[in-house]
């Protein structure tokens, strides 16, 4: 039987999908809800404002840590826990945002940070996140504010992680595929070999014969890389979050303080939402419109080096793009733009004139001069809330997600260590 604790905290009321969306993993895997949980009065309690239902999922099996119980921090207002042992040293972590950053960070934390409970909280889930619109090609952008070595590390870690998936039987479930193709230039670039050339597979310059296919272009790269598709990858990550004992909660957070004191650490993966949630004026949308079409004969990607025109064949459709409209928040597709995208792509790949079942999609890339990957200790009166920010990947979300999630997890671990270190005044 697992251990769990009920606490009543400050929260606004939302129609939250309690019973059915909770799994209750026990030591031997999922177990059905107990009669206690099913009782009506339990459910009616759930409608009381400022209620949070918590459960410890992971027991620190290897180490019995006898540090101060964290319930002392918020015993005020806590109700009677059920008649099991009091939880030990559980650090309650809230991950805000359920796009590729939120979910991958949740998975990393659940694997690498022992003794914590994870709840992913978001107003939007797949297939309605920005990550669902992204084509998911592993061709990284360059962040001006981040050292190249760091970007290369993030990209390599992401590539290696997805490469292991693509070589397994789970590749199709996880939405990860191998795809070869060309990046083409209308003029010879100053940097002929990009920093990520040895991360992708088989990177080389295009031959003259290959370039004949693109008469407007004079130079190109040929390589094999990965494509990771949100609509399959996000559910796959969600399964892993739940399988590791994490919870998923649909709720719109208007202020990070709503999570205090129910949670000990907040991981902010809210993308553009950080403008409000973190008061970050540096983040802005770069609107991208794409067409997802049927053209199954297209087996290669083609990308113009400007990044504005691309053809990315995926599992069940081909993504044609795109646009880069800074500061544009409009999520509705523009028919003129769609026509123009199709025309640019047909110029590179004439057979696309036969594409059918065209669907327009819009995503707002959460853009910043650099990814925000840092700790912040929020303070208000006597309240303290450690936050780890992990957002702002712009057009490189999928390409960098695992590397930055690993780094965010290291930061979370640092916060956990701080929380677990006994405060000096409690020692006599």
């Amino acid at each position: 039987m697992g251990q769990w604790r009920l606490s009543i905290e400050g929260m606004s009321l939302t129609n939250s999908p309690m019973g059915s969306s909770f799994a209750f993993p026990g030591p031997q895997g999922a177990r059905p809800a107990t009669s206690w949980e099913n009782k009506r009065w339990c459910q009616s309690l759930l409608w009381v404002p400022r209620l949070l239902f918590q459960r410890q999922c992971q027991r620190p099996s290897e180490r019995e840590e006898s540090t101060d119980c964290l319930c002392a921090a918020h015993s005020e207002g806590a109700t009677q826990p059920p008649p099991e042992k009091r939880p030990m040293d559980t650090v309650r972590i809230a991950v805000v945002g359920a796009g590729v950053m939120g979910l991958s960070t949740a998975v990393c934390i659940s694997k690498m940070v022992p003794g914590c409970s994870i709840t992913v909280i978001s107003d939007k889930f797949t297939p309605e996140t920005t990550s669902d619109v992204a084509a998911g090609m592993l061709i990284p952008p360059t962040y001006p504010d981040t050292p190249i070595q760091k970007q290369k590390q993030w990209f390599k870690e992401t590539f290696d992680h997805l490469f292991a998936i693509v070589n397994s039987a789970e590749a199709e479930d996880a939405g990860v595929i191998l795809v070869s193709g060309w990046q083409i230039f209308q003029s010879i670039p100053t940097e002929e070999v990009p920093y990520w050339a040895d991360v992708v597979l088989g990177f080389r310059k295009m031959t003259k014969d290959e370039l004949k296919k693109f008469p407007q272009h004079v130079f190109g790269h040929a390589f094999t890389t990965l494509k990771c598709e949100g609509p399959a990858y996000l559910p796959w990550l969600q399964k892993r979050v739940k399988g590791n004992g994490g919870l998923i909660l649909t709720r719109r957070i208007e202020d990070l303080w709503e999570l205090h004191p129910s949670f000990d650490i907040v991981v902010n993966c809210s993308g553009l939402g950080s403008r409000q949630l973190a008061g970050d004026s540096k983040i802005f949308p770069v609107r991208g419109q794409v067409l997802k079409v049927q053209a199954p004969w297209v087996k290669h990607f083609i990308r113009d080096s400007s990044g504005l025109t691309y053809i990315y064949p995926g599992i069940s459709n081909v993504t044609l793009g795109g646009t880069r409209q800074k500061g544009d928040w409009n999520l509705s597709p523009d028919a003129e733009i769609s026509k123009e995208i199709l025309s640019r792509c047909c110029a590179l790949e004439p057979s696309l004139r036969g594409a059918y079942d065209l669907r327009e999609k819009v995503g707002l890339r959460p853009t910043r001069p650099g990814v925000r990957l840092e700790k912040e200790l929020l303070a208000q009166d006597s309240r303290r809330l450690p936050v780890v920010h992990h957002y702002g990947h712009g057009s490189g979300g999928i390409a960098m997600h695992w590397g930055t999630a690993l780094e965010a997890t290291r930061l979370v671990n640092e916060c956990v260590q701080v929380l677990r270190t006994p405060a000096p005044k409690s020692k006599l």
Binding site: N167, S168, G202, R204, K299, S351
Partner: protein, 372 residues
Amino acid sequence: MRVVVIGAGVIGLSTALCIHERYRSVLKSLDVMVYADRFTPLTTTDVAAGLWQPYLSEPSNPQEAILQFFCHTSTRISHRHWNQQTFNYLLSLIGSPNAANMGLAPVSGYNLFREAVPDPYWKDIVLGFRKLTLRELDMFPDYSYGWFNTSLILEGRKYLQWLTERLTERGVKFFLWKVESFEEVVREGADVIINCTGVWAGALQPDPLLQPGRGQIIKVDAPWLKHFVITHDPERGIYKSPYIIPGLQAITLGGIFQLGNWSETSNIPDHNTIWEGCCRLEPTLKDAKIIGEWSGFRPVRPQVRLEREQLRFGSSNTEALCCLLLLSRFSCVRLCATQWMAAHQAPPSLRFSRQEHWSGLPFSSPMHESEK
């Protein structure tokens, strides 16, 4: 001038189109007809995966080509030349909006070996040929060496449909007719016969060198696979090692080659061989939906038979052009149409002087004199 093409597979239809395209404008009386007992989707071409990839080495001695007849033309035309011409022709069509309608698309992929092998003679014909890196080889634990290149898919069924449309537009007529002898075709008024009967050519004229190389394939729906993967096992022999070839919609799985086996029905042991071999190579295939299973006969011959023969029936003289594009033991020519060669052969029959039409090809033919 009636030209009858016997056979409606890739060789028959592409030869018919080539002849019509080249000679219709100069020979107003040209009438091209196609006789066949099988049309798409029932031809051998329909079963082929459609990947352009010859076998690893050329026929050791092209001079061994059997040309016992009057014409000595094709002795110096090697398979390499035909392969290259075909590839270049198809590649030139890649930029056209109709490519996919023809069944044509570029495709890249892997050739895998258990030990190092010399580069194939076609390495400069395909695009971007290179050896595999160690990280790429990590994807295929049973293999330690390999190549990567970009080639072309020409899907048999789509291509035959496209050729049929083009021929129909040009007024070429098709006849469902099981031809029992050249004589009956001549009696119908044929002046030139192009024999593209493939593996069944022996029924029209005995050819002990011709045998069926039976293949069985499974077509699956696995749209996440974008590359071909062809494994090679020199001990087992050509095509007996698993291969995965994406088509325009479906993926072809194969790995069967049985010389002399005329069974056209698919069988379970071969299914299991293909399925196990391919799933080992690509574990995600376990999620693939099987669309269907087919068997076909690669028309195997030591050399392609491409030659002219003069037939005499009663008082009429008819040229028969044997245009059998065949898979030889030494060269794997999956879908390399020799329509160009057939058309080049045609001029003497159509009474044009060689000088006008051969343009540089090193032919010589005793027929030349008799044409005048």
